[in-house]
Each structure stands twice: as C-alpha cells, then as structure tokens.
C-alpha cells in the first residue's frame, strides 16, 4: 500500500510520548524515498501516454501524485519532529547529550545539533553579556543554573528571616 512506510515512521514517533527520541530509522526512510522515486517514474511514463491520447490514465496519475505529496509530508514531518525533540533535549541537558540519546541520532542530526549549539552559544553569550554577569559557563547550564540559583535564593531568604528574628529577639531582651 502506498505511503505505508512513511506513515509508519510518523506513527512510531507519535507513539513515543514525552519527548522520548526513538532510534533513527534509516532503512525505512530509504524505502519511503525509494517508493517516491518509483511512483514518480511510473507517473512520468503515464503522463507521456496520457498526452498521446489515453485520458483514462489521468486519475491514476493524480492518485500517484497525491501519494507522493503524502509521502513528502510524512517524511518531512518525521524529520522535523525529531529535530524539535533533539532541541528540547538540548535545552534540558546542556551542550553534551547523554550517550544513550546520541546513539539514536543520525550523523546529520548530530551535525545539525552542533551548528545549533554554535549559534546558540553566540546568542547565548550576548545574553550573558546583557546580564553583565561573571559567568564563564555557557548558556548550556542556564536551566540547571536557574534552578540552583532559585534554591540558593530561597536558602538565603530563609537565613535572612532567621537573622532578622534573632535581631528582633536581641533588641527585646
């Protein structure tokens, strides 16, 4: 059935909930692209026949074209969604993704992520300069940093409360 493999890729991604990244299905992708190539070649042959007079082929040509469009959509959706998941994981984990995740990524995805990391660092460093901070670590540790900064803030806030209570108690006595 036309479009099965491409739809299968999308289905697998849809089932992997919670931002989890399943392994990159090179073989299925290759088969889906091969199917597109075959459909296109069949269409090419039929178009010349239809021009010669066989107008009953036009519906078949249109059907194949719809299959081609659907395959293109599914494949692009699969690749784009994987990219989105990888980027979300990068925001979460920082500049070095765990090996288990990297194992599931294709070579192009790793390259894409590295480029993304580069220009994110460029923008990230301007972000840091705007804050006029003294951080040397990159934007990668922004997320965990803010968590620990917030908890540090809470700790000092609690300490401050205790000190002020102590002062008030000393003044009374």
């Amino acid at each position: 059935m036309a479009g099965e493999r491409a739809a299968g890729l999308v289905r697998e991604l849809h089932r992997a909930a919670g931002g989890h990244l399943p392994p990159f299905r090179v073989e299925e992708l290759r088969q889906a692209l091969e199917e597109m190539r075959a459909l296109y070649e069949q269409n090419q042959a039929d178009v010349s026949e239809a021009k010669a007079g066989r107008t009953d082929l036009i519906f078949l040509i249109r059907f194949r074209h719809c299959c081609l469009l659907r395959n293109q959509r599914c494949i692009l959706a699969y690749l784009y969604d994987r990219l989105l998941r990888i980027r979300a994981l990068r925001w979460e984990y920082g500049s070095v993704l765990p090996n288990t995740i990297q194992f599931h990524m294709s070579a192009e995805e790793v390259r894409c992520l590295r480029d993304y990391g580069e220009f994110e660092i460029d923008d990230g460093t301007t972000v840091l300069l705007k804050k006029n901070s003294q951080h040397i670590t990159g934007p990668a540790c922004k997320a965990p940093c803010t968590h620990c900064k917030l908890s540090a803030w809470l700790r000092t806030a609690v300490q401050l409360c205790l000190i002020s209570y102590q002062d008030a108690a000393d003044k009374q006595s």
Binding site: L33, Q72, C112, D123
Partner: protein, 163 residues
Amino acid sequence: MEANLKRAKSGDLKVSVHRMEIERIRYVLSSYLRCRLVKIEKFFPHVLEKEKSRAEGEPSILSPEEFAFAKEYMANTETYLKNVALKHMPPNLQKVSLLKSVPKPNLDSFVFLRVLERQENILVEPETDEQREYTIDLEQGSQHLIRYRTIAPLVASGAVQLI
C-alpha cells in the same frame, strides 16, 4: 548595585540582600531572553517574514543578535531537510515552503489584560457568523479577557498591559 557591593564592608547584612537582588534580577532577565529565543525557534519562518515585510521607519521586533540567530536557525533547518530527504525526492517535490508548513502563532487566543490608558471604541470582530461586530470602551485600570488580535496594536503602543 555591584559597585555598591564593592564599597560595603564584608559581613554587612546589606551585602546579602544586595547579592540576592542581583541574582534575582539576573534570573528574571535570563528568563525573559530565554522565552524570546523559544518563541523565535517555534515560529521562525513567520518571525523572519514579519521582519522582512516591516516598513522602513518601524522599529525591529528582534535585536540584531536575535535576527542573526533566526536566520541561522532557518538556514540550519533548511540545509538539514534538504540533505537528508529533499534532494533524494523527485525533482518536482524538492522545494518545501517552511512558511506554510510550520504552524502560525494563534493570534485569536484569549489573553488577560489590564488597561493603562483609557481607550474608546475598540472594534471587536465577530467570531461566528451569527454574531455581529460591536465596539467597547476600555476604562483605565479595568481588567479584561479578550482575543489577542483585537488589542494587539494597543499592546505595542503600551496602552494595555498583558497579565
């Protein structure tokens, strides 16, 4: 504030308070910038399209660094899709319009707002065919729940504040 810190004696209580405040400001600023980056990433073709189509005199919605980031992000994504899939596809399907594929921001979602300057005769478009458009007045200090599209220019001018 950091200059003040250098002047103060160590062990002074004010030092802790100052330091906490600096950390807090730092956190808020980095949250703001991070939120902007997330939005740029999510809607990058539309952001770049809006930037391209804005008039000469209007101020830019992106900082120079953000603009460079958006352009590189777009180039990165396009190169990736082209190399992995598009160049292996039949010739008539090798182009894809990211502007049409990537979801647009939903300008019709409802937002809470507080009115800072009194506004009169704001036109509210109908949502369904049965309704008709009507005008409302916004009193200063009042709070409303309204579709974003209706009050978008007011947010830009600073007459209302989103909550």
